[in-house]
Amino acid sequence: MTENTMIQKPLYAITAIFDTPNSILHAAEATSNAGYKEFDVHTPYPVHGLDSAMRLKTSRIGLFTFIFGLLGVLSAVSFISWITISNYPLVIGGKPFWSWPAFVPVSFEVTVLLASVLSTVAMIVFYFKFPNISHPLHDTAYMKRVSSDSFGISIQASDPLFDQVKVEQFLKNLGGTSVGPVYFNQEELEHGQKIFDPKFLAVLSVIALTVSIVTYFTLNRLLYVQPFNWMMEQGKLKAQEPSNLFPDGIGMRVPVEGTVARGFLPYPYKGKPEDAARYLVNPLLPTPKNLERGKAKFLTFCSPCHGNFAQGDSRLQGQFPNPPTLQSDKVRQWPDGSIFHVITEGQNAMPPYSRLIAPDDRWAIIKYIRVLQRAQHAKESDLK
């Protein structure tokens, strides 16, 4: 090394290596006692007692962590509140929209996330002086040793008491080995921060662009290529969708005038119970199959109010007015058409069931009600 290059390379610090945690503790204490302020200690693992030996003040990072945590809990609670109250209110389990206990786990997680991630960011910004992404000690023989099996101390040239010869002697007296200077990286000093290097920025933009394009094509194109589209695109029309098949461009069609769709035959005796009683005839025979079907539908739709044996003994326990029994003489003498009419149109507190029970099922239920009535009012001949 010639005199010339020595001058060109500005000095960052003098470093020294120590072998044991106790010797580094001693060295740190002696260094701060000697009045040096700008020095740092590097150890391969946390050594207890360094804070007081280096006379470090309480770290300010804790305050930042607290503020970030507060930010986390406030943003999480207000975001969830906004969603559940105004943006997309959903009734969940019959609870109020603003059910704070359900927010606690998520808010807790967001608090921890923001507090820890932003604390790390704050640490990088404050201690590494972002956007500086390098450090003079990086990639030195000193750093290689103190990050594996040795303990090191570095006294910086920016310290007001710094004098290269004195500091080297001081560290040697403390028992340090490999005492030597570390210089700033010449290239970095000349070119400024590497993060603003056009080449670096160009590579960063290319990576960002590539990732964006690949993501866009994967999500918007690749997933729709047959047959890899996971059935997301299907050749059917959904409700409210337009269609080019028809001249008016409307996907949803109305029936042709004067026709009736299968299973949508209108009920002709609306408001006319007498006509229903007179003209309607049960089309089903009391076969075991029909009775089974009637029983299933009766137990599903009728028994909650009318009771399992049609005696009006509901399971509602007073939450709804009890309906009359179907075992009365009146109902037993009704023609099937009358019962069909009541099921279809409803009566008093009973709502119409035409939307819930298909016509054939209604007839099957009536067959089953007849069975229940017969069972409760058996004739002598039935018992033989």
Binding site: H48, S52, T58, G62, P101, A102, V104
Partner: protein, 393 residues
């Protein structure tokens, strides 16, 4: 460096005045117990359950900390371990404190009253577990095993003071390893038997953990309070900020752990919203109990959380002293909140509530006065002592 200093702390007894105060308080406490049982049997029995659980949790919480120190190979807590040992010695007194309740089991526990069980199919179905004989057997087994472990852990620690032999530490590590599962099961059964079974229809699978979080906190708070007090009066001249910081951190951890578990228990019940589970919380949310519930959250979590949050707070001795008393009160309130709603539909606070803990305070003082006369306050024979005294953060 300071080898000789440790030996200075051999057998320094408590001031006589304090010792006598302890006896007076114990006497007053006993008198209040007798008065309580004479005037209002059932109320006294319920308050007795609260106080028994309080004393038992301080004792076994301290024993847990001793075992934890051995198992984790902790160094920083070695100089203060005797305080935990003295507090753990309260476990036999907890057994004595529970005795009056055994004569009033039918007043306290529904399942112990044959008239109620005969009309209740659920209690009949649970009777193979919830019956008086098995209950007493469990009590004997739980406390029997704990006292055996307490005896050996303490004996080895004291023997080491004399012969300074490392084999005692190795032996205690083995005992601690055996103690941990015994502690976990014993504490869970203790919580189920004495607190959960007060509402025998209710169940909560996290109840044992909930009880543990309070127990460990009570153990640390009691130990920290005694350590701070003894330090202030010159009994622990070698402790430093680093020791108090560690105690404060441990306390802070369990404040958070308690809140975490308490909320977990609440949230699952709240979310599922099933009548057979919610009624336990509903009972604590009406007739004035809602104020106690809110108070519990503030006293047991909010205040200690912010009081212990910063680094400086954990090393601030006046604050530590205040917050340990506060946390012990919080643990008492927690037990009161668990137990008393079964006794009364609205919160009660009479002379029984305020008077019964006097006995516990008296017992703790007597225990310290008695033990400090016989044993060293610092385990001078422990091989980790020097490292513990030189402990740095």
């Amino acid at each position: 460096m300071s080898d000789h200093h440790a030996a200075d702390r051999v057998n320094k007894p408590l001031p006589k005045k304090l010792y006598i105060t302890g006896w007076i308080l114990t006497g007053i406490g006993l008198l209040l117990y007798v008065l309580g049982y004479l005037t209002d049997e059932s109320h006294a029995a319920f308050a007795n359950v609260v106080n028994f659980l309080f004393l038992a949790s301080i004792g076994v919480g301290s024993l847990f900390l001793i075992a934890l120190e051995y198992l984790a190979g902790a160094v920083w807590s070695v100089p203060m371990r005797r305080v935990n040992e003295f507090l753990a010695s309260l476990i036999p007194f907890a057994v004595l404190l529970a005795l009056p309740i055994f004569f009033h089991l039918h007043n306290v526990f529904q399942w112990a009253s044959p008239e109620i069980v005969s009309t209740d199919t659920i209690l009949q179905a649970k009777s193979p577990y919830l019956n008086v004989n098995f209950f007493v057997l469990r009590f004997v087994v739980i406390f029997g095993t704990w006292i055996v472990f307490l005896y050996f852990l303490k004996r080895n620690s004291v023997l080491q003071d004399k012969d300074k032999d490392q084999k005692h530490t190795r032996f205690n590590i083995r005992i601690s390893a055996m103690f941990m599962p015994v502690f976990a099961f014993g504490l869970t059964f203790l919580a189920i038997d004495w607190a959960l079974s007060l509402e025998p229809h209710w169940y909560s699978t996290v109840y044992g953990v909930y009880f543990f979080s309070g127990t460990a906190l009570a153990g640390i708070a009691a130990a920290t309070f005694c350590i701070v007090l003894l330090y202030k009066h010159g009994y622990f001249p070698q402790l430093r900020r680093d020791h108090f910081y560690s105690l404060g951190t441990l306390m802070f951890v369990f404040v958070n752990f308690w809140a975490y578990i308490a909320f977990s228990q609440f949230m699952l019940v709240w979310y599922a919203n099933m009548p057979e589970e919610t009624y336990w919380f509903v009972a604590r949310w009406k007739n004035g109990w809602e104020y106690i519930s809110i108070l519990l959250i503030i006293v047991h979590f909010v205040v200690p959380y912010f009081a212990l949050l910063s680094q400086d707070a954990k090393m601030n001795l006046p604050r530590l002293k205040f917050i340990t008393v506060w946390l012990l009160f919080a643990h008492f309130l927690d037990l009161y909140w668990l137990v008393m709603p079964t006794y009364s539909a609205s919160p009660v606070c009479g002379w029984i509530e305020i008077g019964f803990p006097v006995l516990i305070v008296g017992l703790v003082i007597i225990m310290f006065g008695w033990k400090m006369k016989r044993y060293n306050l610092i385990p001078i024979g422990d091989p980790k002592l020097q490292k513990g005294l030189e402990f740095h953060l």
